[in-house]
Amino acid sequence: MTDLDKSGAAPGEPTPAAARPPSAFLEVRDLKVHFPTDDGIVKSVDGLTFSLEKGKTLGIVGESGSGKSVTSLAVMGLHRASRQQRSKVSMSGEIWLDGKELVSADPDEVRRLRGREMAMIFQDPLSALHPYYTVGQQIVEAYRVHHDVDKKTARRRAIEMLDRVGIPQPDKRVDDHPHQFSGGMRQRAMIAMALVNNPELLIADEPTTALDVTVQAQILDLIRDLQKEFGSAVIIITHDLGVVAELADDLLVMYGGRCVERGPAERVFYAPQHPYTWGLLGSMPRIDRDQTDRLIPVKGSPPSLINVPSGCAFNPRCPYADVPKDNATRTVRPELRQVDGGHYSACHMSQEERERIWTEEIAPKL
């Protein structure tokens, strides 16, 4: 992850599109995805900035409603694929993919990148695959959108991909319908479909949540192997800290549509700098420790995305809301501030205070 925030535009202020092409492969700057509804504007993503290099994996972690899935769909342009969708969303900020800006781009241009330069796999492979078409037909279709080849060639390619993702007897299974596959095989087929055009960016949205543990392990291994082989950039979106620890180089923790902490995975796991990240770590029962003490949950429930608290979104649930802050009041939204290296945190508490709380109060209990 590169340093962006020091020079980044102030939040809320629209940045002129196509300002400066970035150096990173994928760069998202001050992304906002809002959905106007009858009850008010749902601010699903509200000022998100991050970047990702090829060959690296970024884990986006958050609970339901944190904006993690909306972010991934925004990068793919899937909030604006149809006219109807475009009428329901307002997006601002910049998404740079390999030197091209996608937020201001023509939707049809983004469509041509979808599936070829960036591809996506989803949580539930059974509902994500069309029930009426064979697995082969669906992969062939994905290939032929971007390659001018005949059906035979595309079919050979589909079989090759199914073989690559570990489907036994791919030349026979290619003619099966999704319901004839097991859950794990369906997700493999989804991966084969996503990778059929050698995309440079792969987004995996909760790719293993619907799968059993032993199958999850197979799929995570497969994603890791394929990334090594294809050298693509991977974004993995999950609520499971175990899954990101397994795969991610960098970590981005989202809460209430914003990034509260991001940095190299090891830094975020071993020296987290935001009370919400502490809360996540404390809430999680550990498979690797025989801990019988009580868990340390986060009190309350996630914020409404329509009436996001004016200051720090986490403030109402923060156990340290009363700790004196160096620079601001509760009504000011905390910006991401650098902790060190590529590690950022959006908290009003001073760094010394946070480090003290982590080492003295949180870490010993985990």
Binding site: E63, S64, S182, G183, G184, M185, D212, V213, T214, V215, Q216, A217, Q218, L220, D221, H239, D240, L241, G242, V243, V244, A245, E246, A248, A265, E266, F269, G279, L280, L281, G282, S283, M284, P285, R286, I287, D288, D290, Q291, T292, R294, L295, I296, P297, V298, K299, S301, P302
Partner: protein, 366 residues
């Protein structure tokens, strides 16, 4: 699958009005009659549940889903028995059998020394108040047209019991007990978040002061931070009310945190049953070992260090389970013996039962 379909149709709170009130007050260990060692609260022997598969106009039976196929275990008063396994292992069916929401095909279930295997719904009534169930889906298990007061108070009305101080007061006490406000009495389920709904479900289950609470995936539909709140709540309630729990879950981390003893199920069988520490520190069944190694650990440094056992393929169909040991098709230690002979569940160490011909971590003196 028939595992979960009609769980909502049968009210859990069917109880007779004449049963004594002190139920949960009696400290669990003393409830057992004087015998050699503490009498188990629940004793399950050879429990079988097959769901017939019929075909054609005449509905002749062509096979059976062997959801639960001969399992033995005890639940001791005051303990938490965790039941873990992948989808299709029969753990949910088992839960519905021991609460008698479903009729066993064979075997026996004894509750407090009384055979309840084939009791009619009417005869089951007194038992219903002692055994309660908490369901996975906090959205589907509460009637949207009833107020919270109505939902939590249903058990009293169904059995015509008038608690001390009246139903309303008792319901409000229960709401407070599970961490909700007594003012929620007149609200409707849709006004609550997932975590709060699960609390409502727990309050309803506790209304009749049960001795045994069977919880089927009580936290798997909840976000991590909320999950921890509910796990802690269940912990507190167990201590406060002397409850005995059977907790069914697929999440091995949650199971490790909440259980005293753990049963691992695979394709309708218990393959290993042991104390928490023994099971997680030195699992003896290859399946348990593989299962534990497959769970992603939230610790980025460990991903390179651990040797993960990757199981091949998926769980076979419970309609045609493999002969002999059901795990043999995915087991790396399988031999001829495993194909021909089914390994019985035997204690290889004190309190550590395994069903395997080639157990891991086997004691040397065997």
């Amino acid at each position: 699958m028939t595992e979960t379909d009609d769980s909502k149709k049968i009210p859990v709170e069917k109880s007779a009005g004449d049963a004594p009130q002190e139920a949960a007050e009696a400290a669990p260990p003393t409830a057992a009659p004087a015998a050699a060692g503490p009498e188990p609260l629940l004793r399950v022997r050879g429990l079988v549940r097959h769901f017939p598969i019929t075909k054609g106009l005449l509905k002749r039976q062509v096979g059976a889903v062997q959801a639960v196929d001969g399992i033995d275990f005890d639940v001791r008063p005051g303990e938490t028995l965790g039941v873990v396994g992948e989808s299709g292992c029969g753990k949910s069916t088992m839960g519905r059998l021991i609460t008698r929401l479903d009729e066993p095909t064979g075997g026996s279930i004894e509750f407090e020394g009384r055979d309840i295997t084939h009791l009619s719904q009417g005869r089951l009534r007194p038992m219903r108040r002692d055994v309660q169930m908490i369901f996975q889906d906090p959205y589907g298990s509460l009637n949207p047209r009833h107020t919270i007061g109505g939902i939590v108070g249903t058990p009293f009305r169904l059995q015509g019991v008038e608690p001390e101080g009246g139903v309303k007061k008792e319901v409000q006490r229960l709401l407070e007990l599970v961490g909700l406000s007594p003012e929620h009495y007149n609200r409707y389920p849709h006004e609550f978040s997932g975590g709060q709904r699960q609390r409502i479900g727990i309050a309803r289950a506790l209304a009749l002061k049960p001795k045994l609470v069977v919880a089927d995936e009580p936290v798997s539909a909840l976000d991590v931070s909320i999950q921890a709140q509910v796990v802690n709540l269940m912990d507190d309630l167990q201590e406060e009310l002397g409850l005995t729990y059977v907790i069914i879950a697929h999440d091995l981390s949650v199971i490790r945190h909440v259980s005293d003893r753990i049963a691992v199920m695979y394709l309708g069988k218990i393959v290993e049953l042991a104390d928490r520490k023994a099971l997680y520190d030195s699992p003896m069944h290859p399946y348990t070992k593989a299962l534990l190694s497959a769970v992603p650990v939230p610790d980025p440094k460990r991903r390179t260090q651990r040797d993960r056992i990757l199981l091949k393929g998926d769980v076979p169909s419970p309609i045609n389970p493999p002969s002999g040991c059901r795990f043999r098709t995915r087991c790396w230690k399988a031999t001829e013996e495993c194909t021909t002979t089914e390994p019985p569940l035997v204690a290889l160490r004190t309190g550590h039962q395994v069903a395997c011909h080639h157990p891991e971590n086997a004691p040397n003196d065997q």
